[in-house]
Symmetry: C2
Subunit: 328 residues, 2 copies
């Protein structure tokens, strides 16, 4: 799907699988194997957040679009993220210790530098999934369930997430893996994930509780690109480059999804080797192919055709999608 | 060649090419395509250092085994590396500005933290290739060539490196790419690179100027694993785990070589997608397969079968070589 060139040589290459699915759940375009069984990792966060909204928990807790965006986020631990999650937990009378995710050093440079140079350790709120976990806690409270063990696959919160995941992907999950944040991450097929994203894209406000929840979550993501990832990050910059046209979300091990409300299309892709440089290039190529991203936009170009420079700044090569993905 | 597992699912996988070559230059074992054209990147440093030793430049400058190890190194910018390179340049009456490589933030944590927290910028001596460049400058001086432009592909130093590279790989190079340190990196086939490593492995002191140079370089690497890479790095730890048995060297974009003097074997491998986690696992697997690395040694295990932990420390999966590479 993606080639790495240095001078006249293709030095490395990335294979993968991708699907574009329409409102009827039909795969209208695919690369690789649409039936590949995958772990969507953080690309499934808007699916994991569905019960939070559908159950009425979000309204009962008065969650704002900013908080819904954080529930779907893999944030980089900047103050705009950690302050909001800390306040969210505080509003519930909870704190960092109630999060089941482990601590993670922020990717946000200023926050990272401040912690390291102060000799301090990161906390659980810095974990890129802390917003998702605040959402889990909000749902656990609303369901009157135990909040101590909300990442247990048998817990009401995870059972609700599994049910929504299976209904929207249209498949029974073959199982789960434990994610980096300790929560179960359910497996499905690539086309199942594409179907779920198409459902988010085609959802209409008021048509059903699920449709309304999907609309609120996708709109929250598009309204707050900075909360979904962070400054300089692919999800944030690609959504800023395509205002209101697409919600994108990356997942660990080179997963990526896109929700295109105007075309009512869903996209899901997995780079087989788990390389982020390739998943970012591939999603940018597909967004350009579908006409929602302008390939000349610097924030799109940065992923679609980045140059590889030497330490001294010379142009030594570049990354580019294969012609089958986007001929340019 | 390498699989990434999370729970019951193979989440990602890495393909690649590898060869084991004997003293006669014959490929005795291979995976993938032995004829694949590759850029060996930093795995070619001992080849780029051959003219430095063969020409007599190393002896004329009184270079020590430590300096020869640094000429073959991709060091992590720790004080043990930068102090020695700075002194080496000083002995020639030269300094940082005479290096053609660009500045690079050290991978060595203490050095990196010190620079960042002091608000200082890294210099060219921190570049992981600064030892190779000090060697280039030493050769340029010895040849009476211009020292200002020694990375120019037409410069006597690079022409000498190209000639040695072609003679030892047994192939005319199809061209070069510019490396991250601004020097040309010549292309060859994977089997050509394996042949070159087998020549280093089979070389005998005194049999020829080239053989003697090969012995001095491979012995210098094995004698100073800490100078070839750095604390915690794969090359350093794999050589410490196999004292005197093998010289290994990684290269960017997932290249790896091994020189096995006792068996007179050379190994070269390339993970197609450029992933280091896979090239480190694959070389550890091949060293275990060839009987020079003990798979139960923690420093080998760390690359051969590392566990993937959640941020909270739970075991969520692992990395492992495919059975065709090493059945364990």
């Amino acid at each position: 799907m993606v080639e790495i060139w240095r001078g006249p040589f293709m030095e490395s290459q990335h294979w993968g699988h991708a699907v574009v699915v329409n409102a009827n759940g039909e795969v209208i375009e695919s690369w690789g194997n649409p039936d590949e069984i995958i772990l969507p990792r953080s690309s499934a966060k808007m699916l994991q957040a569905l019960p939070l909204v559908e159950s009425g928990a979000a309204d009962a807790a008065g969650l704002t679009p900013e908080q819904l965006a954080l529930a779907c986020a893999s944030h980089d631990g900047a103050a705009i993220h950690t302050d909001r999650v800390r306040n969210w937990l505080g509003d519930m009378g909870l704190g960092e210790d109630d999060l089941c995710c482990g601590p993670q050093l922020p990717d946000d440079r200023p926050s990272k530098k401040a912690l390291i140079c102060a000799g301090e350790k990161p906390c659980r709120i810095h974990n890129n999934c802390s917003g998702k976990h605040a959402g889990f806690l909000t749902l656990a409270r609303h369901l009157g369930a135990d909040i101590a063990d909300y990442v247990n696959p048998d817990h009401a919160v995870q059972q609700a997430a599994k049910l929504a995941f299976e209904e929207v992907t249209g498949l029974d999950t073959p199982g789960f893996g434990i994610d980096g944040c300790s929560a179960p991450n359910f497996a499905t097929s690539l086309s199942g994930m594409g179907r779920a994203m198409a459902a988010f894209a085609a959802a209409e406000e008021g048509r059903s509780a699920r449709d309304s929840a999907m609309v609120r979550l996708r709109e929250a993501m598009m309204a707050h690109p900075d909360l979904v990832a962070g400054e300089g990050r692919a999800c944030t910059e690609l959504m800023r480059a395509t205002p209101g046209k697409v919600a994108v979300k990356t997942g660990a091990e080179a997963f990526f999804i896109a929700i295109l409300p105007e075309q009512k299309l869903g996209v899901a892709l997995k780079i087989s080797d788990g390389s982020t440089r390739a998943s970012e290039c591939a999603i940018a190529a597909i967004l350009a192919r579908l006409g929602v991203a302008d390939p000349s936009d610097p924030m799109v170009q940065k992923r679609l055709a980045p140059r590889i420079l030497s330490r001294a700044g010379e142009d030594t090569g570049g990354i580019r999608p294969v012609a089958e993905l986007w001929a340019g």
